[in-house]
Amino acid sequence: MTRARTLFDKIWEAHVVEVQGDGTCVLYIDRHLVHEVTSPQAFEGLRLAGRGVRRPEATLAVADHNVPTTDRSRGIADTESRIQVDTLAANCAEFGIRYFSMDDLRQGIVHIIGPEQGFTQPGTTIVCGDSHTSTHGAFGALAFGVGTSEVEHVLATQTLLQKPAKNMLVAIDGALPFGVGAKDLVLAIIGAIGTAGGTGHVIEYAGEAIRALSMEGRMTVCNMSIEAGARAGLIAPDETTFAYIKGRPMAPTGAAWDAAVADWRTLPSDPGAVYDSEVRLDAAAIAPQVTWGTSPQDVVAITGAVPVPADVADEGRRRAMLRSLDYMGLRAGTPMREVAVDRVFIGSCTNGRIEDLREAAAVARGRKVAANVGAMVVPGSGLVKQMAEAEGLDRIFREAGFEWREPGCSMCLAMNADRLEPGERCASTSNRNFEGRQGRGGRTHLMSPAMAAAAAVTGRLTDVRELGAG
């Protein structure tokens, strides 16, 4: 009888080209996504060594971090940003790689467009010079972020040198309560296991609450696996996955589709598969989550309060909390619902998909953004924007006083012109609340799209369950 294997084991074993003496594997990479920030030095490395790209057709490139989210008709104003985007376009032309330019309707955040185009498929290995590559694990693909040296390695060889990760199972039993979604779920998971809780592991998310999520919700969960320190997140593919992929531009068709689905059905972990560690959470116990500090693990329910550092025994942790509270301008014990915000950002590879915008629009509908709050919605791709406009979501947001922008990474990391001013406090649907992440001195509270929209209309952190639909 063969060994019961996890989803991770199956994908890993199907991609090992060779095992070296010390256990390091040459791992075959099926799909490679490239953006402008982490690739220029990789292409330059190829040129300097006189090397080519092994399989240009296995790579898809797009500019997302540096692109303006306002009018693009006159290009990019910032010189360095423009050079970086132009460099990507030139490199793609030189090496024969598919590239979606800033003016292409299909342009968007790299982790939004991969799934949207059907480029992301179950059972594959996917890498990108970007830590949020874990997003694609929602499809049952082994997807992880790599550095620029490894981007170059994949371009040249279509492989990486890796050792297998450990398996972690995060099982979410039961159903999420009303008003609680995928973002709340993943923030609660990170709060439970910590920002280094998944280090060295690939997390497989399972259980009733995960199975009930849409693909958008599953992507939100897998996206933030890296915020728990995990190499990747995985969710077993099922009918929800297949229905999402079917008919997308790069998805298989006809007999190839049938063959692919038959193969994908063999991927879920075998009964009795053993994990190196297991965590179980009860979905029913999860409330809407917000972060209070400068690490994604600094999270509490909206009904809670800023924690008290003196209650923490570990000195390193206590010192980090004090530093966070000072940076965030918060006092221990303050109820989260009393925290006023200046800005609201809805978007990013975590929450820039159509379902996220629908969720936020349902709260914004018929309401107005509070005075003194600046709120913006940045769709994750041109196609998300187009779909949202077809549904009239842009009108709902605009009438409520939100800015409706062009697609890109935007204020998730503030590499373009969208950023917080020092001291400004932001309700954000992005993934990192690190010091300075959204702009020097900016203060980030991570939350779901519905919660961010609720904060926009009340001007403070708000329990969306009390607000109800507009």
């Binding site: 498929q121 970007d130 060889t157 390193g316």
Partner: protein
Amino acid sequence: MDPFTKLTGVVAPLPMINVDTDMIIPKQFLKTIQRSGLGSSLFFEMRYGDDGAEKADFVLNRPAYRGAQILVAGENFGCGSSREHAPWALLDFGIRCIIAPSFADIFFNNCFKNGILPVVLPRAEVDALMAIAERGGETLSVDLERQEIACPDGTTIPFDVDPFRKACLLGGLDEIGLTLQKATAIDAFEQEHRTRHPWLFA
């Protein structure tokens, strides 16, 4: 990549947990299309004030640590993004070795690609090295071949390192060159992979 064999250098303390890659090198410096020149922006927000002047109390601005080549830090060093700009900035500043109880995976991996040795030690040993670093201007000797760190009092602390990564660091090896030597194996794998998953090659 410069080989890493034995390093004797000043050790600087950074007693913080979860030092993230945005702290190591913030996004405004990621617009470069080169690898070099990031050292002056290392730890930018902690190192410089709003007026651009150095903050006198930040460790790497203090006279004893300006030439530091070894950093001792808290748990989960390098968490956050995959930006290789983080090790590039450390290297450009002159840091060749980082010692911590734990590292984030991608950062840890990126270090080896750039001739930087990340060393994982138990918390108690990191605390002891932190105390030495805090004395100011002390040097450690990190011997990769022997896998040990020599302290100023002559005691040594052994450390683990992955054998393949060790060989690459010692030899300053070009990993892509090594993998390209396996082209025949990759070709054969790819052929079989294509047979099993033709839709991935359509």
